[in-house]
């Protein structure tokens, strides 16, 4: 039987990870759609989503069926731990000012500029600004098939989605709840896609670093829990240890972020004008 706490953390972690990665992928898909044509961009995104779905089934199902649970939990726990720690590190560095925040507007403008310069459907006169002021876009997008838009959208969704697939397979397989994990990821994908298409632009207002921090905390907590569980450590309270670990890593993250703010280098003194 699965405890409610681990199910909630599983769904939240997968949903959050998928949402944040899909926001990043959406930036590329919207850029491809606006500058080269929506049809090919959407086809590319859909094809990548389908391949990722097949990957979950092909890799995940045999893992759940044929690998002993304890061995699976150690491997999966280690994978989640390395992923979670690296997400948390990046999130702390960004929140404390040591690393620039992920800038969807900048990525969008760069992708549009790059796509607009390449081949048919390229830069056209009368380029306008996007609603969010994210840079120039061609006044008229292509309406036919465009292989570049397909490839760019496919690559964007596939690369961002690979991490999601690993999280879905890891969390789903370790708890024997692959279906639920896949469903949570699919729900996030649909939500981001619908919102993105409705507003027809990249979602730069999404608090990406906050979501990434939350997911990093959950992945790290699950990682530590599964590594211990698979290696034979008996957690006090069994699955109830997961929310306790989540609480511990929230405190660690808040504390480290505050500490790292004190480590910011002093701004360089302004040079006095030459006399």
């Amino acid at each position: 039987m699965h405890s409610t706490s681990s199910t909630i953390v599983l769904v939240l972690a997968v949903f959050g990870a998928s949402a944040v990665e899909m926001v990043e992928a959406l930036t590329i898909v919207v850029a491809a759609g606006v500058s080269r044509g929506w049809r090919s961009a959407l086809e590319g995104a859909a094809a990548a989503a389908a391949v990722l779905g097949v990957l979950v089934a092909v890799v995940g199902v045999p893992l759940v069926r044929y690998i002993p649970l304890d061995a699976l939990r150690v491997v999966v726990g280690a994978l989640l731990l390395v992923l979670g720690l690296s997400w948390l590190r990046k999130a702390i560095l960004r929140a404390s000012g040591h690393k620039d925040l992920h800038d969807e507007d900048k990525i969008y403008a760069e992708t549009v500029a790059e796509l607009s310069e390449t081949g048919p459907g390229g830069a056209q006169p009368g380029a306008t600004e996007t609603a969010g002021g994210s840079g120039p876009v061609p006044a008229r997008a292509h309406s036919g098939r465009d292989s570049l838009a397909f490839v760019v959208a496919f690559k964007g969704v596939f690369l961002e989605g690979t991490e999601v697939v690993l999280i879905v397979i890891s969390l789903g397989a370790a708890q024997h709840r692959l279906g639920l994990a896949a469903l949570a990821a699919a729900a996030a994908l649909v939500l981001v896609a619908v919102v993105g298409l409705v507003v027809s632009r990249q979602l730069s207002e999404v608090p990406e670093n906050t979501i990434k921090t939350a997911v990093g905390i959950m992945l790290t907590s699950f990682g530590i829990f599964w590594v211990g569980e698979g290696a034979g450590v008996n957690w006090p309270g069994s699955d109830l240890a997961i929310p306790v670990l989540v609480g511990f890593f929230i405190a660690v993250t808040v504390g480290y972020t505050a500490f790292m703010r004190t480590k910011l280098p002093a701004p360089a003194p302004e040079e006095s004008p030459a006399t």
């Binding site: 280690a78 990682g223 480590k263 280098p265």
Partner: protein, 74 residues
């Protein structure tokens, strides 16, 4: 065919290396140490439950400090 296979294996290996180690080898090392320690503590309820998260937190701090912005020339 062999060349293609070798290229595929190399690309697969590079993907996993970048994914798991990348520019934070200390976190991959941390994970290895935590896994090894978990096996050494096999069945030890309290020590495992306290030590593993603390160790993860300590490695996270070390890695975060390594990635901090430094003053020019500092």
């Amino acid at each position: 065919m062999t060349k293609l296979l070798a290229r595929g294996v190399k690309a697969f290996g590079k993907f996993w290396w970048d994914f798991l180690v990348g520019d934070t080898p200390e976190l991959a090392l941390a994970t290895g140490i935590i896994v090894a320690l978990a096996f050494l503590l096999d069945g030890d309820r309290l020590v495992g439950a306290i030590l593993l998260p603390l160790l993860a937190a300590a490695f996270l701090l070390a890695s975060t400090l390594r990635g901090r912005r430094r003053a020019p020339g500092g």
